[in-house]
Symmetry: C2
């Protein structure tokens, strides 16, 4: 029986060391050779499952065998998010320092629910969210807290907005209270689906989320927002939260936060700003115009795991009203009471999740290793690449750009001269994208804008260089020619 089967305790430390070194080399080689992998695997549903045994092994196995299986049976099913040609969705990429931070977080395995349960977790989180607040130029009044995802950050923001209504919802709930008005939440038609999910979860109801019309640049129309708020008030409803987006998921459009903030102030409505993707660009002086009004928001979410090279998950919610958030969620059972409660932050008080990984460590590694200037340079370069790609699209009569390029994302479609029917254009563009994705050389995703099938190219991957963007453009034009010939 091998050491792996010893009856108690962990893997022997010297075996951990040996396998650890092996896997670091494996990881370094993987990252070095990442371009040799198909970015999107070309496999059928169920294929990975079929390769794996139906039952767990009774006895422990050697790590060599596990690594071998990883290569043979898991890797073929992986979509390589760190591949420079992954230009779909918003392409979260993880940097070396971030990866090594995750390694150490798992080594410590601290659960930072309480200050006491690991003071370094609480205090390093406090320090890095404050660093980042300064980097973004946010007002000092913002208090930051790290959650897993933007869905969760926005969930807590909307929960705080709900709490702020002073309707005693924490205690009495929402159901069967005749005195309660309908609570209404506002976001643009282009807001992220997580906002509606959060509203569903919080008992607001999907039909009480007003998706406000957007202008030609996909920005929330503030006059429509005003009108609908008026109408809701006339009906006796309670407008309690507006979500404005800086960098929507489809087109990276930017809602006029400043104007929306004025409306919210006048109407006493909580303003939550979803800047999950584009928030990091506030680090650049030349981008400040997109963030006008943010200081008047009640909460603001930004995801370093989206575009700041931090391994998933890492989302920060900033709020000027942490006490309301705490009021909504603080609940300390006896087994979690500690003596220093008035002097410290117990982050568990600010959310539904009690367990909290040591996420601050990886972000600390990243900020220190790259430095503020290093991070700014990278983001700036990604935006340059997007403008470059956009220029090629604009110059080619076979393409049509479908939205302004505000950050690192370009929305466009093919419009070959001989195809003018919208349905045919949609089919052609969908087939164009799928044919590109099938090559394994490039991974793109889509959206629909005014009924038009829209291809998105995202250039904000850490490893994406000009040559990748150029090759992407070439592949797209090549595939378009093929598709046109074929049709």
């Amino acid at each position: 029986m091998s050491e792996t089967n010893q009856m108690t305790g962990d893997m022997p430390v010297e075996e951990f060391r040996k396998v650890g070194h092996q896997l670091i080399d494996w990881a370094a080689d993987y990252l070095k050779n990442i371009e040799t992998f198909p970015v999107l695997p070309n496999i059928e549903p169920g294929e990975i499952e079929k390769r794996l045994p139906k039952e767990a092994p009774k006895h422990g196995e050697d790590f060599d065998k596990i690594i071998n299986d990883l290569e043979k049976n898991i890797i073929p099913g992986i979509t390589h998010w760190n591949h420079p040609n992954f230009m779909a969705y918003f392409n979260s990429t993880s940097s070396g320092p971030g990866i090594l931070g995750e390694l150490l977080s798992a080594v410590f395995n601290t659960n930072g629910m309480l200050w006491k349960s690991s003071p370094a977790n609480a205090e390093l989180e406090f320090v890095v969210v404050n660093w980042f607040k300064q980097m973004l130029g946010l007002n000092q009044d913002f208090f930051g807290i790290v959650y897993d995802t933007a869905s969760t950050s926005s969930f807590h923001a909307i929960a705080a907005a709900r709490e702020r209504t002073s309707l005693k919802i924490r205690n009495k709930g929402l159901a069967s209270r005749k005195e309660l008005p309908k609570l209404i939440l506002y976001a643009s038609e282009q807001a992220h689906s997580s906002i509606e999910k959060d509203a569903i979860a919080l008992g607001i109801g999907k039909e009480n989320v007003r998706l406000i019309e957007v202008d030609k640049d996909f920005r929330m129309k503030t006059n429509v927002l005003k009108e609908i708020i008026e109408e809701d008030k006339k009906n006796g409803f309670l407008p309690f939260c507006v979500v404005a987006t800086i960098g929507t998921t489809s087109t990276t459009s930017v809602d006029p936060v400043d104007e929306i903030a004025e409306i919210c102030k006048k109407e006493n409505i909580w303003l939550h700003v979803d800047a999950a993707y584009a928030g990091v660009t506030a680090m650049l002086p030349e981008m400040k115009n997109f963030f006008k009004g943010v200081d008047k928001a009640d909460s603001f979410v930004v995801n370093p795991h989206k575009w700041l090279f931090t391994p998933v998950d890492f989302s920060i919610l900033y709020t000027t009203k942490p006490n309301i958030l705490k009021q909504a969620f603080s609940l300390t059972p006896e087994y979690l009471k500690t003596q220093e409660e008035d002097k410290i932050i117990n982050y568990m008080d600010y959310g539904i999740q009690l367990g909290r990984r040591f996420r601050a460590l990886k972000f600390w590694f990243i900020i220190r290793y790259f430095g503020v200037a290093g991070l700014q340079n990278r983001i700036r370069e990604h935006m340059r690449l997007a403008r470059l790609f956009s220029k090629w699209i604009d110059e080619n009569p076979n393409f049509e750009r479908l939205a302004p390029v505000n950050f690192g994302t370009v929305c466009f479609r093919a419009v070959p001269q001989d195809v003018r029917n919208e349905e045919m254009l949609n089919n052609l563009n969908e087939e164009l994208m799928e044919s590109i994705n099938r090559t394994g050389k490039l991974f793109l995703s889509h959206t629909k804008l005014n009924g038009k099938f829209t291809i998105r190219v995202v250039t904000s991957g850490l490893r994406t260089e000009e040559r990748h963007v150029r090759e992407a453009y070439e592949l797209i034009t090549e595939k378009l020619t093929e598709n046109m010939t074929f049709n």
Copy 2:
């Protein structure tokens, strides 16, 4: 300017390799020497914060400097969860294979929101939750999904219970609906605080959570549950969910799930079983009696990150009604639509979080490395250690055990012959625990049972051996003697 300041791209691969090897050695040495660290740091609030700069560095720094700072300024504030003398709370510990799994998850950095966004994530998750279902002896009808924490798993279970009422809550919400009854949730007085937090978030309201009285062994009294449900129905309320716990946080008591399941079946109420801590013991044939009735539950949560050596976070929710969960949360915007939707699982459809780390990988590593028998042996040994410690407590007249020892946790207090006043006993025990924790040799936490300050000893750490439990007992008795002399 050093390489770390290069203008674009990641840390150079060869630097990642070098630092990676350095950190693997660092981690191996840390785990090897973990007993030389004080398990609970003896620092003042704000001490770590004070050691760190108020601003982020403008330029990137060398990794040697970062590691040096980690040792000098962060480690002194870390509570060492992997320390064998961490016997507080429920002591999540991370194993070598789990740590290495986290390393690779961060290297891939896949976001498994959709099947397509990384098929291996979806299919490996499907495979490992099914393996584990068999290991636990759960009915085949259970569908498993991985969330971050038990708070989140229970949140989704209660949300599904809410959805099952057919009150169209997803769409219409809860507020201002005169036809809606009050929704009532039941759990024992000993249930985890996350259940109440979840109910608050979901708009149920804290006062609509009925905390049912427990018997002398801290088990929910089913006759009281029945009566209160009757009363609520008489008042026109809607009992919609009962949460039974297998292994409560204070004492690891076990609610009579079988009887509760009968009540739920008769009353058409969703039964959620919170087995976050103790669920893993269902792997042992000799523990089956604690799990009677579980197959009649609608949902069941178990946390491999609590007692199966998986780095936080990793919680599995099993439910026989995944379609209801999906009905509550599925919402697919255009930019996330894919072609293979009827053939695959998009796990994002089962929760509020869109972003999903590749958590299945670390669990796969753990099951394969230790094997089912290896995991069973470890859990069995931890329970033996708890019984051993409990025996010493029972044999010593200076102590009183305050709850049955069902798993790996012992609840007790000191009762020196000359102290019989309850308030004095509480003060003495609190001071006893604090004086132990201040030594840095052992970390214990407490609860209150029937007003009695209760010390908890948890022996389910991966690195906790008989000698640690013996030393813990010796330290406790030594400190008790000191305290008694001192008083």
